[in-house]
């Protein structure tokens, strides 16, 4: 699969934690590299709004939800491994070329 569709992503974090902070940076970095111009990212802090966690059945943070294109996918962790992150988004062919880890 190649990235041609429009991706709608939502990153759930719980406050300003080092892991949440890293997740934000990593998601943006990977998306800017592989999905430039093809994605929308919304960062949701559930420590401020816990009820928002219910909508997407969030069980841990940081969690990234791919809302579109279907099917819905979720990735948990600080997204420091770009290959795992891309696999989670169903971008298998890109994931195979991507480095296994990025900055922590």
């Amino acid at each position: 699969m190649t990235a041609t569709a429009h991706y709608v992503l939502r990153l759930y974090i719980a406050g300003s934690t080092p892991r949440g902070t890293r997740a934000i940076s990593n998601v943006r970095k990977i998306c800017d590299e592989y999905l430039e111009g093809l994605y929308e990212l919304e960062v949701v802090d559930i420590s401020q709004h816990p009820m928002l966690a219910m909508t997407e059945q969030i069980i841990a943070t940081p969690t990234l939800i791919k809302t579109l294109p279907l099917p819905l996918r979720r990735v948990i962790g600080d997204m420091s491994r770009s290959d795992r992150f891309l696999l989670g988004l169903d971008l298998r062919d890109i994931a195979e070329k991507a480095p296994s880890a990025i900055t922590r």
């Binding site: 559930i46 219910m54 948990i76």
Partner: protein
């Protein structure tokens, strides 16, 4: 409970559903693995009260959360960026300041929020050096929002370190000082504008402390007016610079001012350091300067104004005196014209004589009552023979100025002479001539003399009675110059001569001629 019969699925649908289930199981396994391996920092647990969030990083996480809550509440904008300047934290104040939402810009480069500009070119290098050396920088710069709004900001930047002590980004506390800067600029403009008024005013201005009554500022005009340096004025009381006669008078002025808020003194004598005397007017006001009372004294040099007022007073007196004189002359003309003339021609003769008087008067006014050139007077009185001047009317004489009284008397005489010459004398035919001459003799006591000689006219007949015209060219002319008139009725032509001390007939500067 009702169970719905499930519609048999196609093979493709079953395969897709199977794939989805696998993917879901993998996600759950990944989630469990992430939780086990410590890749998550919080768990969300459903409860009767709603979802509850449990932090997994002990005290550090708690303190992180506490710090986050604190930063979220502060009124200054707080923003954190990582080492690549990606935004990792943005509080509510920062969202408001830059017109963005944290959810939309977190993870983006800071340039997606604003463009940074430095006030001075060297500020950037200084900031980088401070961050590198001390790990922090405080200063002002300009942030331009993505919608173009320019913000003047005061920033406190601190370098953030990771658990290994390596720089991992910076935390910025940003305060919007745009409004303050705008007021500073307005204040500066105001200061320049009103300072210029103070510095260039053509009145002396003194600022005094009402408590000590001492001068705390003075404008340059005041220093010039008094001949003191600014530093010599500051710290002195008004009586010490000669504005009031003693300490008590100076104190009384301040006391009056405290009671009425404004006092005014006219005609105060003021002496400059070099002894120059000036009349001044002082207007003092008590003002409030940001809670502190100050006295402002405007000191105006009215020496020139006073001189002008005196001059105007003198002129009014003089005009009054001259008007009375003129009315007396007119009265005499009326009386004499009526006494010696024919009643049928009275009005015409009177109008003619008053015209002559008016011509002389015009000359006096034109010369600001400072005397009249004899040549101008002659030409004015012979205006109706203008075309004969230089041909049949010859005028010879130096440039000398008659006094006001002399100009009036001689002017009337010339008018009578010209009228008679036109009616009966040398200008009543086509050949006659008139020679008008005047001179000033060079002697210890110079004498002004003037003559009117006619020839070529009809044969002169000696009048049988003395009319007013003869009185004008005789007695009135003599009185005007304190001199002596000589009237001769020769058969060949009439002549008139007038001589008088030059000091009586001429304005003083002419007497030396």
């Amino acid at each position: 409970m009702m169970t719905l019969a499930r519609k048999p699925s196609s093979r493709a649908t079953l395969l897709w559903e199977n794939g989805e289930l696998r993917a879901r199981i993998m996600e759950l396994e990944a989630a469990l693995a992430a939780i086990r391996s410590g890749d998550v920092d919080a768990l969300v647990v459903e409860s009767a009260a709603g979802p509850q969030i449990f932090a997994l990083q002990g005290l550090d996480a708690e303190s992180c959360r506490f710090r986050g809550d604190m930063l979220a509440q502060v009124s200054d904008a707080v923003m954190a960026v990582d080492s690549e300047t990606r935004v990792t934290y943005l509080n509510a104040a920062a969202e408001r300041l830059y017109g963005v939402t944290a959810s939309g810009v977190l993870g983006r480069m800071s340039s997606a929020i604003y463009e940074r500009r430095w006030v001075n070119a060297e500020d950037e290098a200084a900031a980088m050096a401070a961050l590198s050396e001390f790990g922090e920088w405080h200063g002002e710069n300009v942030h331009v929002r993505r919608d173009g709004l320019v913000l003047n900001v005061e920033s406190s930047i601190t370098v953030l370190a990771d658990s290994d002590g390596q720089p991992s980004g910076v935390l910025a506390v940003i305060r919007d000082v745009t409004e303050r800067k705008r007021h500073e600029v307005l204040l500066l403009v105001s200061e320049i504008r009103y300072r210029r008024l103070f510095e260039t005013a053509h009145d002396g201005v003194l600022i005094l402390d009402p408590q000590s009554r001492k001068i705390i500022d003075a404008n340059p005009f005041m220093t010039r007016m008094l001949g003191y340096l600014h530093s010599q004025l500051v710290g002195k009381e008004l009586f010490e610079i000669g504005l009031f006669k003693d300490k008590a008078a100076s104190q009384e002025m301040v006391n009056n001012l405290k009671r009425t808020n404004e006092v005014r003194y006219e005609n105060l004598p003021l002496e400059s350091q070099d002894g120059r005397h000036q009349e001044v007017e002082v207007i003092a006001n008590l003002y409030d300067e940001n809670g502190c009372p100050v006295i402002q004294c405007n000191v105006r040099d009215i020496t020139e104004r006073k001189r002008n007022e005196e001059h105007v007073k003198l002129l009014i007196g003089e005009v009054n005196h001259r008007a009375k004189n003129l009315l007396a002359v007119v009265q005499a003309i009326v009386h004499q014209t009526a006494k010696y003339g024919d009643s049928a021609t009275f009005a015409a003769r009177l109008a003619d004589r008053i015209d002559g008087l008016a011509a002389g008067q015009d000359l006096l006014v034109r010369n600001h009552w400072l005397g009249v050139e004899v040549a101008d007077l002659v030409e004015a009185q012979l205006a109706h023979f203008k075309d004969l001047l230089g041909r049949r009317v010859l005028i010879v004489g130096p440039s000398v100025r008659l006094t006001m009284a002399a100009a009036q008397g001689i002017g009337m005489a010339l008018h009578e002479l010209a009228t008679n010459a036109g009616k009966y004398g040398a200008l009543s035919n086509l050949e006659g001539r008139v020679h008008i001459a005047w001179q000033v003799s060079v002697a210890a006591k110079p004498v002004f003399s003037m003559s009117w000689l006619e020839n070529g006219g009809p044969k002169v007949v000696v009048p049988t009675r003395k009319g007013f015209g003869q009185i004008v060219i005789g007695r009135i002319a003599e009185q005007a110059v304190d001199g002596c008139a000589e009237i001769t009725f020769r058969e060949s032509g009439f002549s008139w001569k007038l001589s008088a001390p030059a000091e009586s007939a001429l304005v003083s500067t002419e007497v030396g001629i």
